[in-house]
Symmetry: C2
Subunit: 114 residues, 2 copies
């Protein structure tokens, strides 16, 4: 029993290590939804600052979560694409969206029944 | 399109709001795995400090994620139990464990093929 828990715990921690932090999941979701430009991604995530998004995207590029392509132009264009690795988080994100929706239903029901 | 993204984003944010932070998911997982005592939970999560665990448990009790029961004793015993609300995160946690395991396979394969 203890061993299983420890193995599960390690798997969980590995995942949380990659997708931890306030913004990582919303950014992965935004890019997987087809937003490719910095400003598009920024607009799709209310509350994120440019500095934060820039930092996250750099880190995600280093960790092969996004592919950054620069088109010479003019005008110079930078596009971000999700990698297969990034897409592998789809299952987790879908579960999170599903949970958020269910949760809202529960909250709304409680409010209406008051 | 924009509207869907915004609705999805909101559902995601609602979820992240409840399970955000470094320790929330490991604690939910530990309690759902049947750890009921403070020390058991602490031992099942390497790296967590008592102060952190204590703070999280208090917050989780306020938010109905855990039920805290005090048995008068002697000795006085305190037990934590997961609520239905807490168990509703099972799907997300399972996906995270699955991802962590898959990820380890990929990393191990890469290492072995070098």
């Amino acid at each position: 029993m203890y061993r299983d828990q420890s193995e599960e715990y390690q798997a969980l921690q590995d995942t949380l290590y990659v997708i931890g932090g306030k913004w990582r999941i919303p950014i992965i979701n935004s890019i997987c939804n087809g937003n490719t430009r910095f400003r598009e991604i920024e607009r799709s995530i209310p509350g994120i600052t440019r500095r934060m998004l820039s930092r996250e995207l750099k880190d995600m590029e280093l960790n092969k979560l996004v592919k950054r392509t620069v088109y010479a132009g003019p005008p110079v264009q930078v596009e971000y694409e999700s990698t297969e690795y990034c897409k592998s988080f789809g299952g987790i994100i879908l579960e999170m969206i599903r949970w958020g929706r269910e949760h809202r239903k529960v909250v709304t029901k409680k409010r209406n029944s008051k």
